[in-house]
Assembly symmetry: C2
Homo-oligomer: 370 residues x 2
Amino acid sequence: MDGVKAQAVVPNVAAGARGVADALSLHPNGRMFDRFLRACRGEPTDVTPVWFMRQAGRYMPEYRALRERYTLLEICKAPELALTVTLQPLRLGVDAAILFADILLPLEPMGAPFEFARGEGPVVHHPIRSAADVARLQVFEPEEGLGYVLEALRLIRRELDGKTPLIGFAGAPFTIASYLIEGGKSSQYQLTKQMMWSEPAVWHELMTKVSEVVRRYLRAQVTAGAQAVQLFDSWVGALSPADYRRHVLPHVRHILADLETTGVPVIHFGTNTATLLEAQREAGGTVLGVDWRIPLDEAWARIGYGTPIQGNMDPLLLLAPKEMAVARAREILAEAAGRPGHIFNLGHGIVPETPVETVQAVVAAVHGES
Amino acid sequence: MDGVKAQAVVPNVAAGARGVADALSLHPNGRMFDRFLRACRGEPTDVTPVWFMRQAGRYMPEYRALRERYTLLEICKAPELALTVTLQPLRLGVDAAILFADILLPLEPMGAPFEFARGEGPVVHHPIRSAADVARLQVFEPEEGLGYVLEALRLIRRELDGKTPLIGFAGAPFTIASYLIEGGKSSQYQLTKQMMWSEPAVWHELMTKVSEVVRRYLRAQVTAGAQAVQLFDSWVGALSPADYRRHVLPHVRHILADLETTGVPVIHFGTNTATLLEAQREAGGTVLGVDWRIPLDEAWARIGYGTPIQGNMDPLLLLAPKEMAVARAREILAEAAGRPGHIFNLGHGIVPETPVETVQAVVAAVHGES
């Protein structure tokens, strides 16, 4: 399958014709620079592009070494360190770099500081639960509130020098609101849903502020050099389709309608979204990101083959024997059936216990090299 | 809608014709005794039957009063107390009683004792992680290992005297195995999936033992008087359809194929199961239980209108203003469109903060009384 695609799109790679290679944006090593961006636009590529959510992280020894000296937030706030970490996973052969940052960084300039408590995930010091709390939140200018992220993006883009596309990202309004309201990660989103249903005006005001923050932040990331952006609505799968449409979709659309005018692809990602896909596509985005619960062919049947899809291996499969992980990656490629517009990824982030060799083997398998 | 249904099925209720009422299994108060059981069989009913997962629990003052004197496990293990608690929610007007027990009760007689740690949920003292651990697990006889549950069922059935149907239940193999392996509630099921993928023989042996325990336990519950049983595969929605089919479905089928021969309806329940419904139906069961993520009409379109459905209100909607909860209950009835074979329930259990009045208002709305 990959062989057929490669032949159709890049007829002269084997002959090493440099002129043709340049025209097809090939790297001197024969790799297509922009296969990730082409797939985001639904265009054919030589092989399926692949990157991983949380591809820079604790599973890599070079990241762990850096984390012995710096906290996660220190790395995010020092552009040179964020650059270093962003580049670390490129040795795995992935087709895109994603900015090293955290979806909660906007909370501090909004006026809702948080910290990562040891072993407990993020803790928001003063959760947002009333109209007065929401009124105090600031809609800030990204260059002022998150200048360090934008500086990191500029540095990384310069360093990548067009050889690997750079992805920026932000959390989506529901997911960020859930942290603000619950004060951290939640299992049921009880307080979040209570505000949504019982205090709809407060909810609307909170979502309006968060979505304007995210809109400005992602637009600033594009200006700073992000060639694609991903909107992480990681926890939106807790909602029914009816609640998503009533209480979330308009706010996501506020962000994505504006980003469409920038021309950069937007990956609209969530987990547990099997019954939300149509509504998410209405909300906007160039590519839909889905998790392992939704077979790619089923996702495409729901949203139409014209929308590129990113996904969808269970990240915990990277803890399985390497041969099994590779076999499952091939099953996902088979589901995609060689259609243009598939970006291989996990259904959620890499976990710390993942062996680097398994990640490398999956990259090679997706690229048809094994 | 309900009026039309009532008229078609129970023409003479208004005239108070006792002979007809008896033939239609009407309570002297005009209520159909067995509308829950009829709906489980896909038969028409006067109004839509309703019960709630965790309908006996902390949200009820009479339960909280009892819990000041006894722990949850003490109540489960004393048949008279289990009887008392099982009957408590009947004052709400629900159409079925469900045995008060816990899905983890079989762990102790299997040889994997646990306790409920304060504020942390269940803690299994020695999690099951190796072939040797699995080898030590016992497949016990229910009358020996869980005689107190069966005694409670006999007591409750006698007390209900045919006026309200009695539901028994057990956890499904994946859900129970996840507690055994993780040692408690998990967010990602990392160790569970690792065993499933990396130690398939150990996984298979564990699932074989658990499913035989559950098969015997549910069969014994039917013998003791349960008129329907629910299989709780609460956490199976963490799996892809492919993994469900390979590693779970055969074990669920082992249980459900046997229960089919008893003639009692089996409700096969899970959450997050939008893409698993077809496979769950293949695994067996009379009724499929779905959560709020899957609109009832979409669920039926996937599995066919011949399979009754139970669900599917978000339990947190019971924390919303009462009028909103009632309106959303009516929306669910509208999705069901008056088809026979709908049992109204939540998508998961009632939470402790739920106001009793809201539950009562939803029952009345489902029964068309308001």
